[in-house]
Amino acid sequence: MFDLNFAKEAFPQIVLAVPLTLLIAFIATLIGLVLAIGVVIAREKQVPVLAQFLATLVSFIRGTPILVQLYVVYYGLPQLLTSLQAAGWHVDPNGLPAIVIAFSAYGLNAMANLSESIRSAYHAVDPGQYEAAISVGMKPATAMVQIVVPQLIANLIPNFTNIFLDLIKDTALVYNIGLVEVMGKANIISSEGFKYLETYTDALIIYIVVCWVFAFVLRQFERHYRYAQVSH
């Protein structure tokens, strides 16, 4: 039978792991966003070699499960650092914390998904908007900042919300590399008391509340942006 008391007692302990879940999601989004902007610029400007390389990398990341990527970075990054160390770089392959691996793997994953979303949001802005901006005398960079990018952001928000919520849920997998976030904590408590349904139900509730909160906040943001363009 479902042990309600066990679930209640486990709940606050699992909640304590929420900050780690959010930290990974936030940092990965931040890293992903910065890298994605670079990827979009390189691809849209069709920088030779780099554009093709990035397109391949993006399709590779989008075409593989995040758990596999996590393992590849987990085992690959220290080896890369070892090679760099052998080449005379001052890096320490043994001192690599699991959280850095999580940031790297999830950041790369966010980069791939965000760059595709930014590209489609950019293409959804009518080229006539940019033309009108430069025809009233704006310099190309000003035209981008004043006219194109604000419209791009409005187009991007719905997809951004999806990617960010997916990222929050996907952090459940970092338990596999030894980080104890919400899912990890639930696993540990389950195995201590041999009560699985109770703690996983706790985790379920925590995830859904966290995702609801962020979906709500981002929807307000989206409404604000759309509001500015559709109604007075």
Partner: protein, 247 residues
């Protein structure tokens, strides 16, 4: 001569759209370019503002010589700062209000103080009878209102020349009149204009010169009376004849 281009050539892939066009506009002239769809009229206009890059040709604008195939950044910016464009699909900035749309070019193109620019924009809207729409976004305006604001956005810059790319083609017939009235007033005020249009009554009544354009080149050019009533070229007669049959 305010603006002239010589031997302007433009290709899209293997197709040559402009075949060595010589074209010029004097101060205060209203030049109306007519001709069949796909003949290159719009492409010519877009080349005058560097929205397209020409493959060959030279431009003289306000005594500046510009190589059209390899224009310097400074020259491109100079031409755009002293000219303005009105688009077929209005192209009002979707993320800006009517008032901001008119002010943007003054602020970010000419470096005017923001408050002063917004005041000018607001006065402009009042004179158009659109003061109530000052804070409306383009999506809340009719096509006619959008295009009138598009024209105001161009005129507040006090450009030496305004390029109109089929400004009434996307409008309901009922809304065409108000836009043409605005353009007529501008012409009467001495604004230099180059207008690509299918509105023949506007061409007849407002133009100081008509240019008939076909197949990437100017077929003939002259006063409205000369081109409409005594065309020199057979191709012009054919085009005008086809128009007469349709109306």
């Amino acid at each position: 001569m305010l603006l002239s281009v010589k031997k302007l050539e433009k290709r899209f892939g293997k197709r040559t759209v402009l075949k060595g066009v010589d074209f010029s506009v004097d101060q205060g002239e209203v030049v109306v370019i007519i001709g069949p769809s796909g003949s290159g009229k719009t492409t010519l206009l877009r080349n005058l503002n560097f929205l397209e890059n020409a493959d060959a040709g030279t431009m003289n604008f306000k005594d500046r010589q510009i190589d059209l195939a390899h224009p310097k950044k400074d020259d491109v910016h100079f031409v755009r700062r002293h000219s303005a464009m009105v688009f077929q699909n209005y192209n009002l900035f979707k993320n800006k209000t009517a008032q901001e749309n008119i002010a943007e070019g003054l602020i970010y193109g000419q470096g005017m103080d923001k408050r002063q620019a917004l005041t000018i924009a607001s006065d402009e809207l009042k004179s158009l009878g659109l003061a109530a729409q000052a804070n409306h976004y383009p999506s809340q305006l009719s096509g006619g209102q959008q295009q009138r604001i598009g024209i105001a956005r161009a005129t507040v810059l006090k450009p030496d020349v305004i390029l109109f790319d089929e400004p009434t083609s996307a409008l309901d017939p009922e809304l065409v009149g108000t836009v043409l009235d605005d353009m007529r007033r501008l012409a009467q005020a001495g604004q230099t204009m180059v207008v690509v249009t299918h509105q023949m009554s506007f061409a007849k009544n407002v133009a100081s010169r008509i240019v008939f354009f076909d197949d990437g080149q100017i077929v003939e050019s002259g006063s409205p009376d000369q081109v409409f009533n005594h065309p020199r070229e057979e191709r012009t007669r054919q085009f005008l004849g086809a128009l007469a049959e349709n109306y």
